[in-house]
């Protein structure tokens, strides 16, 4: 994919082609299915796309792509629904959305905040799409410059950001993030296949599966606290499923989101850039965007208590990652994450060969994907807004009825990943760990991110040292790596300064 300007004629033709009733129906149906998969903790976009891949063999390439892309988009978007409503992220990336989305929902603004997240997702997808269309060659070249050194530092950077923004005490956040990295070391070592921390248990050889651990640390403490403290289903403002109200709320949310143009651009850029890095994905993008906005915003101190910007930033980054993830997949045939890996495989099955020659050999496929992403974002916005009142009603169910159902879904979600009961046990044990963490002020999100990034950090650190013959010098001499080191040091200094300031303010108040 060399330097080029998009062929708008071909793009319009592709959009026109995708407007066929059958394709739109497939797009909508898969979107709803994707949203359901995203909503339910344990059912992931990856699983949805994998399930649907087997059903698309007999379809033509464009219809197959429509189904897979819509399911992918719906899965990424749907993760925020349960994060906002019940504080249980449907996907790991939605954990950042829960920080401000859940407090807002608890204040009675569930319908509005869901609409706001939908609007943010729409802007995010659109932003990623524009980047994919215009600057994917440039972005691919940046992504290619990332080597082992940069990937190690990127994972460290992600952990540090997540740790510092999810807790008032960054040290606690960092401890949890490091604990997550340690948990990720359980299983066979990537270089020598040596079993680490397995205690001769064959089930542990494949490591701790992320999804059961994530469900455990988020869902179980929430269930225990809600049931124990006799929480009622919380009151909601203006829950009305009439078309007029839905339209009014949606327009209000869109208007509100457009007031934050700078935020849309910043978070969109972060999401697309990080989404384009193979292996990094949305999970880091959301936290980086949230952190950036927390530092920039005038209301940064109020983040975590129900700030609109705290919902917008991670949701925009989360969805703009979709466009970003397609950049290396289409231009280099390198999937950005597990879902694009499945889509890549599906493309191969249909005779499409992504890579540097795609734009010269099969440009129509590129434009069909762009057209599907564009139409998909519109379908997502509409179905998302229409589904909002139905989802909101779920939280008015008394917690005494809702929470036992959450436990059942958590058990199924954990089991369904590998069809093994060991994962259910992992979910329960992590639930207990999560409860301990919650009662002692340790944030849960860095643990999830640590488990995600652990293998990447381990492999890349050792690979980087191997390449440099054990020398740490390349970490300083490589420009992108140096930028990360400076950013990490800056973050530590800023966090210490903030803590000292807080202490001074407290002492002053005391005097």
């Amino acid at each position: 994919m060399g330097n080029y300007l998009p062929d708008f004629g071909m793009l319009l033709n592709s959009i026109g082609y995708c407007l066929s009733p059958l394709l739109l129906l497939q797009l909508t149906g898969s979107m709803v299915l994707g949203i359901i998969f995203g909503c339910l903790p344990g059912l992931t976009a990856t699983m949805g796309v994998a399930l649907l891949t087997s059903l698309t063999y007999s379809l033509n390439t464009n219809n197959a792509l429509a189904i897979l892309i819509a399911c992918f988009m719906g899965g990424v978007y749907g993760g925020s629904r349960s994060a906002i409503l019940v504080n249980i992220p449907g996907t790991p990336a939605a954990a950042a959305t829960a920080l401000d989305g859940y407090p807002l929902a608890r204040k009675g603004k569930a319908q509005f905040v869901l609409s706001l997240a939908t609007a943010a997702s729409f802007w995010g997808t659109l932003f990623g799409l524009i980047i994919l269309l215009f600057i994917s060659p440039a972005l691919s070249s940046v992504a290619l410059k990332f080597g082992a050194h940069e990937f190690f530092l990127l994972s460290l950077f992600g952990i540090m950001i997540c740790g510092s923004i999810t807790s008032k005490d960054p040290i606690k956040g960092w401890i949890v993030g490091l604990f997550g990295l340690l948990i990720a070391q359980i299983g066979l070592d990537a270089i020598y296949a040596f079993p680490r921390y397995t205690f001769n248990n064959i089930q542990l050889n494949s490591g701790i599966t992320l999804i059961p651990a994530m469900i455990g640390v988020f869902a179980i403490p929430e269930v225990i606290c809600s049931l124990r403290d006799d929480e009622k289903g919380y009151t909601l403002d203006n829950v009305d499923s009439s078309f007029k109200t839905v339209l009014k709320t949606s327009l209000g949310a869109i208007r509100q989101s457009t007031k934050h143009l700078g935020l849309i651009l910043r978070s969109g850029f972060i999401g697309t850039l990080i989404g384009a890095l193979p292996g990094a994905g949305a999970d880091i993008a959301c936290w980086v965007a949230y952190d950036a906005e927390k530092r920039i915003s005038k209301n940064g101190d109020k983040f975590g208590t129900g700030e609109i910007e705290g919902v917008l930033a991670p949701e925009i980054a989360n969805n703009s990652m979709i466009g970003g993830a397609f950049v290396p997949m289409l231009s280099l045939a390198v999937p950005g994450d597990s879902v694009t890996a499945i889509i890549l495989a599906a493309l191969w099955l249909h005779g499409v060969r992504p890579g540097p020659l795609l734009m010269t050999e099969q440009p129509e496929v590129f434009y069909i994907i762009v057209a599907l992403l564009f139409l998909g974002s519109i379908v997502m916005a509409i179905t998302g807004q229409l589904l909002t009142p139905i989802l909101v009603k779920a939280v008015t169910i008394p917690k005494g009825q809702l929470m036992p159902i959450v436990v059942v879904l958590s058990v199924i979600g954990s089991y369904s990943i590998n069809n093994r009961t060991f994962d259910v046990l992992v979910m329960f044990l992590f639930g207990l760990i999560g409860y301990f963490m919650r009662t002692n002020g340790f944030p849960a999100a860095p643990l999830t991110l640590g488990i995600i990034l652990g293998p990447m950090a381990d492999e890349n650190l050792r690979r980087a040292l191997m390449l440099g013959g054990g020398s740490l010098e390349p970490f300083i001499t490589r420009p992108i790596s140096m930028v990360f080191i400076v950013a990490i040091l800056l973050m530590v200094v800023l966090e210490i300064r903030k803590a000292v300031k807080r202490k001074d303010a407290a002492l002053l108040e005391q005097k």
């Binding site: 490091l178 070592d189 225990i224 049931l227 005494g400 159902i405 207990l432 919650r438 050792r462 202490k503």
Partner: protein, 179 residues
């Protein structure tokens, strides 16, 4: 002892870090140390231990401070305790000391009941007791306790969830739940 609860809670991750570090040291070394399987876990565990050490020292200082100041506040005066607590804000999940012993007892009983029923449900899954039966049993043990007055909707939920989810997952999503 109670004033050191937070110190103990912070020390626990430190102990975990020591265990991870000790096991990492015991791992075999293949060639250069930085290539060995224990290299990365050792670095991470050591860093975690260091941070836990810093946190424990902080918590010990806060605990001492808390012990040395008068906790009673009158009017708008703020004590050292308030200052310390505003600096180290922690969620207080357990009932406060002002609540009665009876409430505390109920609080603990409820916690153990919730965790116990969950553990029983997980155990039933582990021993591959049929999903419909184990789910119905778990739901009846929780729904009828925590949502006592809604027994009609509870019964409907119990049947719909246990049977409906089984068929949805095993027939539509091809997730083979224990049967």
């Amino acid at each position: 002892m109670k004033k050191y609860n937070k110190v103990i809670a912070t020390a626990i991750p430190g102990i975990v870090a020591i265990l991870f570090a000790a096991l990492a040291i015991a791992m075999p070394k293949f060639g250069d140390f930085y290539l060995s399987p224990g290299f990365f876990p050792l670095i991470i565990a050591s860093t975690m231990l260091l941070l836990c050490g810093v946190k424990v020292v902080q918590e010990v200082r806060v605990a001492h401070h808390r012990h040395n100041v008068q906790p009673y506040v009158s009017g708008n005066d703020r004590t050292d305790l308030d200052t310390v607590q505003s600096f180290v804000q922690e969620p207080l999940q357990q009932p406060s000391s002002t609540e009665s012993a009876h409430q505390r007892k109920i609080w603990w009983i409820k916690t153990f009941y919730i965790v116990g029923t969950m553990a029983a449900y997980v155990a039933m899954m582990w021993y591959r007791i049929p999903f419909i039966f184990s789910t119905a049993l778990y739901l009846s043990l929780t729904l009828f306790i925590f949502a006592k007055k809604q027994w009609i909707s509870n019964t409907i939920l119990l049947i719909v969830i246990s049977v409906g989810l089984y068929y949805l997952f095993s027939r539509v999503f091809y997730v083979m739940l224990p049967s």
